[in-house]
Each structure stands twice: as C-alpha cells, then as structure tokens.
Amino acid sequence: MTQTQKNNESNGKRYWRSVEEFQGTRELDALIDQEFGSAAPPPTDGVSRRRWLQIMGASMAFGATLTGCRYPAEKMAPFAFRPAGRTPGMPETFSSMLEFGGFARPIVATSYDGRPIKLDGNPDHPDSGGGSDSFTQATILELYDPDRSRSSSRTGESGQVTVTWNEAVNNFKSLLTGSGVAILSEPVGSPTVRRLRGKLLASNSSAQWFEFTSVSADNSDAGSRMAFGSAFRPVYKLENARIVVTMDADPLGTDPASIRLTRDFMAGRDVDHGKMNRLYSIESDFSKTGAIADHRLPLRFKQIGSFLAALELLIDGTPGNLDSHLPYNEKVLAAIAEDLVANRGAGVVMVGNCQPAEVHARAFRINSKLGNIGKTVHLVKSTAGSDLSGVDQLKQLTKMISDGSVTTLVILGGNPVFYAPFDLDFGAALKTIKNSVHVSVYRDETSRECGWHLNAAHALESWGDGTSVDGSTIIAQPLIEPLFGGWSTIEFLAMLTGEADLSVADHIHDAEHVNDRHDEDASRQSHHGHIHIVGLATVQNTHPGSPGSDPNKAWQTAVRKGFIEGTVAALESPALLEMTLAADDGQWKTSWSSGDPELIFRPSGSIYDGRYANNGWLQELPDFITKLTWDNAALVGPATADTLGLEHGKIVNLKVAEYTISMPVYILPGMANGTICAWLGYGRSAAGRVAGDADYSIDSVGSDIRPLRTSGNWWSVPTVTVIPTSTSYTLASTQDHFRMDELGREEINRRMAPEGKMIREGNYTSYAEFLAKHPIDDHGPEHKHAEEEHGSDGHAAQWPEGRHLHFANFDLTSAGWKNDPVAYKWGMSIDLNKCTGCGSCVVACQAENNIPVVGKDQVNRGREMQWLRIDRYFITDEGDTDGANPAIARQPVTCQHCESAPCETVCPVAATTHSDEGLNDMIYNRCIGTRYCGNNCPYKVRRFNYYNFTDAQTFIKLPGADRLGKADLQLQSMVMNPEVTVRSRGVMEKCTFCVQRIQNTKILAKTEDNRKIHPNEIRTACQDACPSSAILFGDIQNPASDVAKAHHNPRAYSLLEELNIGPRTRYLARVRNPHPAIEPVSASVAAH
C-alpha cells in the first residue's frame, strides 16, 4: 500500500468525542470558546447547591492565630521512645492486602510517620506485578472517611444504645450455640475465615452459612459444574494467548482479576518484539475491553449465547475462507472461528459473569476442544462454599427467616440489604429476626435494618489473609491502629468460635510483647492494641508453616513479602462431560428495530457495585467510555434512542411489571441495538455524606436501579417498557472538557486524521514490515540515529503509518543535548498500545499529589482538578452517519513539560518557570491566579482552584457539614502526602512529573554515595499504578533508561508536534491487529 493510499484511508476517518459533536450541536462552541467553562457563580448560589463532599479531598485546617508578624509558633512532639528503625519524616513501605470481588489483591502501602498515605500493587506477586487499579488506589481515602462507623450499637427499647464489642461477643457467643443460627457473608476468600467457618459449623450442626454478593462468579461456577461435574474456576493465562475472544466479559475492566489480566494481555501485545495477539470482543454493553478490541461486535444480551453456539458449530465444521461479501458480524464470526482453529492451544474464549451458566459451559467445551485448557485457561478448584448461587442462597435464607427457622443472623461485612434481589425484600425480612448483627465498616443500609451494628476495623487496620486470583495466600498486616476501635471479622469470629476469648486476648499481649519496648509503647497508647494480637494469632494458626521449618521465620518472610510462597492453587485437568446444550437458533443474526428493548445491569467502572460509593475520588473518576462522573444513566445506542424516542440528558422511566425506575438517558454510540445498560451501585440511601444518607437528608448520587433487579432478572431484564419523559437532567460528563482543539471541530479532524498529530494508529501488518527493515535496537538509541540508517530526513523515514514529523530544534537525540552539562533531562513516554484507559493512574495521581474532589456541580462547569485526564475519541468512517459501532482511541494527557512552554511566557509573576532539568515548574506561593497560563496551554492540562477545595471549613456549608468537627477535618487531612504542597484558592496547578519523587531520589543518590541516579530509579505515581506499564519515566538523555528507548521507538510521536514547543512526553502510536479479511479498523454494523 502506498503512502498516498494510507493517507487517504486516514482521511476517511472521523474522530469525535461526544454525540453532540458527532451530530454537530452548536452548544459545544461555548465549551471551546470558554477556556474555563462558565464564569464563577455568585458564591452563595454555587456553594449552597453544591454537595458538601469536597471535604473528601481532605483538608488541612490550621487553626492558628498570628502573633505579630511572625508565623505562628509550632510545637514539636518527638517520641518519648522512638520505635526501632523509624526515621521521622521518612516514608516506609509495608506489604498488605485488599479484597476485591472475593479475591485478595496484594498491595504495598506507603506509610508516612505511621499513617498510610498511598497504596500500590505488590511488585513481587504475579497478580499485581506492581500495577493496581482505581479501586486499590482509592481505598486509602476510605480509611480516613469521616463517615465510617465509629461505634457499635444495638436497637434497644428506647432507640439506639451504644454497645462494646465485648458485649456483642458475650451476647452472640451463647446465641450461636443454640438453634436457628445462620451466618451470611460475602463469598469467603480468606483461608482463616474458611477455617473458622468449619469450626463454627462443626460446633453447631444446625447452623448454616450463606454466601451472597452483588457481583460474583456464580454463573461461571455453575457452567463448570455442567461441563466438568464440579466447580472449577478458570485462571486465564493471557500472555500465552494469541487469540482472545471475550463474550460479554470485561477482563481489562471490572473483572476482579483485571490487574493481572491487563498485564498479561499487554505482554502478549509487545509489538516491538513481534508479539501481537488479537482481541475479539462480543458484548452487549460497551466495556473497556471492547474499546481495546481489534474487532468489536455489539450484540444484545440474549444473542451472546447464540453467537457462541454458532461459533462452536463453525469450529466443529470447517470455517473456510472469509467471504468479503458477508455482513460485518458474520465476517467477525468466521474470522474468530478461523483464528481459533488456526491457533489451537493459543486461543481463549472468555465469558463474562453476567452470562448464564450454559454459555459458560459452552465456552469451557470450546476451550477444551481447542486444547486451550491447561495452556491459556488454567482450571483451579472453585472456593465456593455451596453449589447454590448466591441469589439462591439468599432466597433460601429469606424463606427460612420468614418461616421462623432463623432466629439469629450474623452478617459479616457486605451490604446484602442494598445488593439483594428486589423481589426478596430482604430488608423487611431482616427486621423480623430476633437477633441480628451486622459487622461493617459503615453503618449502611444493612446495619440500619439489623438489631446490632458492630463497627468493623478497616482492611488496612487489621490482620487478615486472602486468596489471590492464582490461588496463593496473601497476608494482610495492619498499617495503623483501628481509628475507631473496631474489630476485624476474623477477630470477631475467633471470639465467637472460642479460638480466643476476651481474657486470653490481654494475656497473649502480656506474654509476647513484654520485652519489646516499641510494641509495649504502641499498645500503651491504644486500648485497642490487644485485639490485633487475637487477629494475628488467629491468622497465624491458619498458616502454621511447613513442618520442620522455623514457623516464626516463615511467618516473618510471608508478612514481609505479603504472601506465602508456594501456595499457588494446583492445576486441575478434569474430564469434559457430555453436555446437551441448545443448538444455535440463529438469534444472534436478528436485528432489533422496534418493540420492547432489554435492560442489562453492569457494575460501575467508577464505584463497582456500590461498595465504593462514598469515595469521592472514585465518584469523580470519569468512566472511561462515557466520561460520566457522579451518576449512572441509561446507556443506549443512537439508533435505539431514535426508535424509542429518547433524548440525551432527559429522564426515562423504565417499567417492568409494577416497578418503575427513572434515570437520565445517555446516548452512547456502539451500544447494541435494543439494549439499555444501567450501572449498579448508585442511588444509595445510607452510604454517607458523599453518596447519600437519608438520615441526614443528603440526596443519593445517581439512580437506584434495584426495583428492576430481581432474582429472576439478576443480570438482564429481557423486556422492559420504556417511557420517555421531557424532564431534563444534568449529567456531569467530562468528555467535552479540556479540548486541545480551540480551532473548532472541523479543525480537530483536519489535525487528527490526515496528519495524525494527536492520535496515531496503524496496523500490525505494516508495522511488522517496517520492523523487519528497521529492527529496534534494545541496547540503546545511541548509534541508531545515524544518518545513513534513516536517511537525511531522520524520523520522517520511520514507520510510514506513524507519519513522523521532524523538528530539528527539538530532536532530543541531536548532538546539542549530549554536551549539555545538566545531569538529567526528565521525560515521559506513554504507550497507547498498552493503555486500556482503566483510570488507575488518574486516582494514583490524585492520591500522590493531594488533588481535591470538586463535586458534580463544579465538574459540570469543567473544573475537575485531576491532573491527568484520559481523552477518549470515537472513530468512525467518514460518511458513517449513525455511529453504530465506532472504534475507540484513548490518550492519557497530562502536562507535557514543553521545552519552550507557552504557559511560561505569559505568566506575569514568573510563577511557572523552567527548571534546568526540563521540568515545567509551578510555584504555588507565587501564583496570583491570572489563569493566562491555562489559557495559553495547548494541551489544556492546567487546573485552577476556583475555591479552597481542600479546606472543608470555609467551603462547605451544607447538609452534614455541621457534623464535621475539628477531629473530622484532621482525620481527612491524614490522607495528605506531606511531600506535596496543599494548594488553596486562586492558584493554578498541574502535573509536576512527581517532582517530589525526583528530588527525594536525587537527594538519596547524593547522600548515599554521591552517585548518579540509576536509569529507571525514579517512578512517577501514574507509572507505579499502571497495570500494563504503559507509562515510562526517566532521564531521556541516558541511553540505558527505558524512557529513552521508548522515545526512540519508531512509534513515538509528540502531541501537537507542529506547534514546535518540544514536549518532553512522547506517545507511542497504537498498533491494531485486525483480521486481514476484515481490514477496516472500524466498520458499521451490517445489521441493517
């Protein structure tokens, strides 16, 4: 293909961000014209309507009075006895664990003077490899949430009575030996809880243990029971897969194993070293996985099973060659079959948890037929405690409650009243139980229906253990004393089962720690100290270590590493059973054009199933596809919306039988025709001051979809009546914010598509051809740029599809750089081929750099403060007017640290200047807030503090704020990173390349042995958080550094290179790998 043809092909693409833009609505002009959105509102108006929640960004409230002109006197409180190994002001890291979706996630927590401030993945464990996701990153905010339950209580005759944990133990220990006992928990991943469960059930044979949660692997377990006779859990080895087919699965998104899967999947997409897998995504919603797929096919929820059946037929038969005359979806089907058959043992078919058991069973059969089991799909024994699904177990429990056979119910964690199927009315049933107790970190919906509520310790406050995705045992160690004196589930169970008792607890403490000054000191200062010892002893009892070895040493190793080595679950290879599965009924070919649409439920990419609802960072994290914050919505495709008469931003009523839910409509191109998608977890009434609390008249965030989520319609409602209304609703979507294209929409497309200045993409075939001629030299870029190798036009000769522009001034390889006396030149590279848009980096940046949360109203004005944003572009072919199946391009954008930064030249007070090492420094205390810099920034990465967002006292005058005492504000400020200045009102801020990490590493290198910094020694917060290592940072003039190599990759390009401002961040173009027979990157669905 010639260069011209390529260009023409690119010319045939349109890049757009929102439906408004696609349809050419003029409202967008206002957004483009007004750099900072609408003008500042009168304070009373704006503030009073705003949710008080900004405090969740935490605050530093110094209540000091000035004495004379000098700043206030500060007192210093050194330890009386400094703990061994502690250096004041120096961060320490500890391994620990968080639980997500029933699996343990190995983490490393950074603790600063005894308070954890940052969580990252544990690089030593394959489940993380150092990467994390937004949920892991944001959990640290939850630890310091002032809405956490602070005391235990029970409902007495005269209202709520505060109780102690000891009273609870005394009360429930005897009850548990009686009859009518049931325990309800989330699926148990912890080996210790499993052990205690066995002990408890053995001591009382009439007791029953139920497991239920909102999002679980029940369908997969049921499918494996159909296929193999007993429950197995698939562990995918995507690094071995060449063909990945996801059927309504979201392995790179909300899957509990997403961190590991993302890393492994991207390892199989190492295009520079000739590794390239192909991803087909067949789905009813629009997931992050679908967005990265080489071929995505939107199908209705019901059609997925039928499509898989057709695929199996094709695999069994001869797939044959692809006929170019087939409609798109049939071409995709044939291509999948062809690829899977051609890559036996190196393909994988994954089915999402929402699909019914038969679909899972068929996927197991297909994987088995293709010889993928044991290679790309490892099977391990499922840890499910029952053959029944969670919903069925809860159904059984509700029935037992209503017929009076359960009189004592202990609920360990979770929030079953909020998650339960609506038809069970579990909350009402719970009220009728004589003795009910909920152990929970929050006084949530369930706690409010229970007789007793016990305030649990946070996961970061207690000892524990868990099972990771690969089955290995992860150890959780406490990072801080329980802030509100709670116990962990394990400690409570240990007391209930008699593993420990209240007197023993103190005894253990005295015996073991009397000679250790530090621990003695710690426990003296806290009267909760002893309960840790119970948790520790109980967890240790579960893991006695291998016989013959020193148990203490083994334990210490496990705690230090964060996991016990050699505990990876054994591989199983069960025989496939004969199954009769329904044959393909051809349903997947039928296209929906009228009639009742279907409704599907998915966990939210921001707050999952609602358990993270009270977390401001996550509520404000824009969902990758919709860029929606602070809300869920009815997501529908444009064609469906037309048929049903729905309008973007208008309320729609969805009715099933006598139940109706109302929610705003969000028109999302790429949704399957006739499918409406709604996220779980919104509309909480007892979450807290962020997400809504009925007790304090704080409105819920988002719409409650629960009335339609019944046990029969757990993941999808086959038929829903759609009643459009004309009521408008404000959706705070960031998709049109911070546009880098002030020249207007037409200009974007001129810049983006034909010249490829913003988004560059290409096909693997052509890249492979290029690489064959110009192999990448991993030894460093030094000799690579010799003239003879690339011709006189340098970069221009590189990968033609990348269309490199060449600006000699800023060619970082030119001789001028090498003679520069400055020791380091910092730069970053972002590999768009590896980025999934997961948002982990956004939250990590927020945690590292003390970035505030601003609330829905401010987001709506385009004032969100996140330093790092992930731009998402839809791509359609020119002339495509319905945008039915757009491809997606993603681009994380943060400060590019330009060599000749436009922001610096316009600052009247020199508050933003250039450092010797190429950083674009921002000096907050000098900034007077003219916002000229933000106006002049071509990348739109500067953020302005319109309010004192970090000071709750001055900013929040809203419901619930009066409950915030000084102690609450101090609690919130505990999450702050002391290495970064907390900004106040009227100050500009932006990405600093984590300058605090750079400086501290430099100082460390100098003080250690006056050495130079190692090539990849400094890691930014976003880099640490990235599960696929898409972000690299380092010294671009050091040929040994990863970032220098990346900058010399043929795919590397600078954003808006034509402005000639020499950005220090370079992007690596994305490489797609479409099936050769379905060449076009995006194609409209041939359903019509």
């Binding site: 009386a80 400094r82 002001g89 250039h914 450092s915 420094d921 205390n925 400086q999 100082i1003």
Partner: protein, 297 residues
C-alpha cells in the same frame, strides 16, 4: 483656618449652574482641589461632605434647597504656597510608612533573633560547647532524612532519666533537678515533651538536611554558633534570597563533610574560605540548583 473640602468616599460634587435647576456630576473629585474652585466656582453641597471651616453654612445651604444660588467659595491665594509643601510631605510620609512595613515583613527582621522559651531550659552551650557532645548524638537523623529530628526523650534519659521507669536507674546526671522534671515525666508517661520550633520555614518550602550536611554544608551555616548559645535563637533569616545567595555562590560555605559539626572550624592557614571550599565543591561535584522545584513542590 484653611478651608479644605475633603470629599468622602462617594462624594458628589455638583456644579450649580445659574441656567439650570438640576446639578450634574463631575467625573472626578480631584480636579477641584485645592485651588480650582477659585477659577471655576465649584461647589460641594452634599451633606455628607466634610466641609472644614464652614460646615454649618454648607449644611444650611443644602437644607434650604439645592436650586438656590450659592455663595461661591474661593481659596485665598496664599494657599498656593503650601500646596507643593503639602504634596511633598504626603509623599515622604507615605514612603516612610511603606518602608517601615516592608522592613517589618522581611525575614531578616521578623525571624532573626527569634528565641522562644522551651519546656526544658536545655543549654546547647553546655552540651555542645563545653561538653563537646557532637550535634549528631541527639539530632541523629540529620544525615539520612530531611528533618534533623528532635531527639526522643529517651536520648535525654540516657543521662538524666532518673529511676522512675521500671525502678532502674536510666541516667543519674541531675536526676533530681526540678528543671528536668518534664523529661522524667515524659519517660514515665510516654507522652512527648512539647518543644517549640525555633527554625521554621513555610510549608511550601522543602528543605532537606541530609542533602546539605552530607555535602559539606555545616550546621553553622544556617544555625550559627549554637555551641555558644545558652538559649537557641535564629541568627540567619532563612529567607529565599538568603538561600539562593548560597546556592549561587556556594564555595565559601562548603567544607569537608566530616567536619560539618565542628562549628568553630576555620580553613587551613593561608587559604581563604573561597579557595578551601572550591576544592571540596570540585571533589564532591557540587553544582547547586536554583530551579524553583529544588525547594518548592
């Protein structure tokens, strides 16, 4: 008495024209002051205006109704003599006030000499000067951390601990002194001794002790002769200008890193500080950075 019209904040100055009934606004209030009225007959008749010299008449005039023709007021000619003098004195007075305020805000004025009382009258002169205890005996994190940490009470207790903890003698030096009671109380209760910070930089400044001390910048450069201070006081302004001065010309502030705690150190005979420091700066490869992000994050 000189009659001056001193317009208040929104003083309106009306010109009463014989032909018209209604007064109208003038754009500014300054044109008529102090000698213009003589020529043009400007009148000030707002009741809120302070009319020095003839307040009653002005008020009366206003009350009588504004459309009555008013008596013109003329500054006497000799007033002109004082105009320049007056303006000059205002300028001088203003300059004086500004200078005083400026000087009063300088870190040099505000910070130098700050000498707070401490809960225990710890004498650096005695410990570091006379007894020659090394700085790092107490400030032991100074070479590894940003903070030169205030020692834990147990460090004091090593000598002065008394026997109230566990009944054993921790340290017997002056173990019954009343002045050391806070130390013993802290050891017993494990509550910290609340020391008052002497050297304090704003929160947006990130100074790192380790980076300086291990690179040959002595304690004395910023803290002065602490070994001669009975009560520690701030002797250097610790202002940004002061920091930058050294970052730009570091040589005379650099010495052998081994000698940083030797506060009375002088360069060898025949060498100036500049010459001596230069050799060490070259040995240690010291090129201080003056970029903003060196100290501000």
């Amino acid at each position: 008495m000189v009659a001056l019209y001193v317009p208040r904040k929104y003083a309106t100055i009306w010109r009463l024209d014989e032909d018209r009934d209604l007064p109208y606004y003038l754009p500014t209030t300054t044109k008529c002051w102090p000698d213009l009225p003589q020529q043009c007959g400007w009148q000030m008749s707002h009741p809120n205006d302070l009319v020095i010299g003839s307040p009653d008449r002005a008020k009366l005039r206003f009350l009588q109704g504004q459309n009555q023709p008013m008596q013109e007021f003329h500054f006497p000619n000799w007033v002109n003599r004082f105009t320049v003098l007056f303006l000059a004195s205002v300028a001088i007075l203003g300059g004086y006030v500004v200078s005083v305020l400026y000087a009063a805000h300088l870190p040099l004025t505000v910070n130098v000499g700050h000498r707070p009382m401490q809960p225990v009258p710890y004498s650096h002169k005695l410990h570091a000067g006379d007894l020659k205890i090394d700085c790092r005996y107490c400030h032991n994190t100074v070479e590894t951390a940003a903070h030169a940490a205030i020692p834990a009470t147990e460090t004091c207790g090593n000598c002065h601990g008394g026997n109230r903890v566990n009944g054993t003698d921790l340290g017997t030096v002056r173990s019954d002194s009343l002045l050391l009671e806070p130390i013993r109380a802290s050891l017993e209760s494990r509550d910290p001794v609340m020391w008052v910070k002497v050297h304090n930089t704003p929160d947006f400044v990130y100074f790192n002790h380790a980076a300086h001390v291990t690179r040959g910048v002595s304690c004395v450069e910023c803290h002065g002769r602490v070994d001669k201070m009975e009560v520690v006081e701030q002797v250097k302004p610790l202002s940004m200008a002061w920091c930058i001065e050294c970052h730009r010309n570091p040589h005379s502030h650099i010495r052998d890193p081994k000698l940083v705690t030797q506060l009375d150190f002088e360069p060898p005979e025949g060498q100036t500080w500049e010459e001596y420091g230069k050799t060490w700066a070259e040995t240690l490869n010291i090129n201080p950075n003056v970029s903003c992000s060196t100290c501000h994050r």
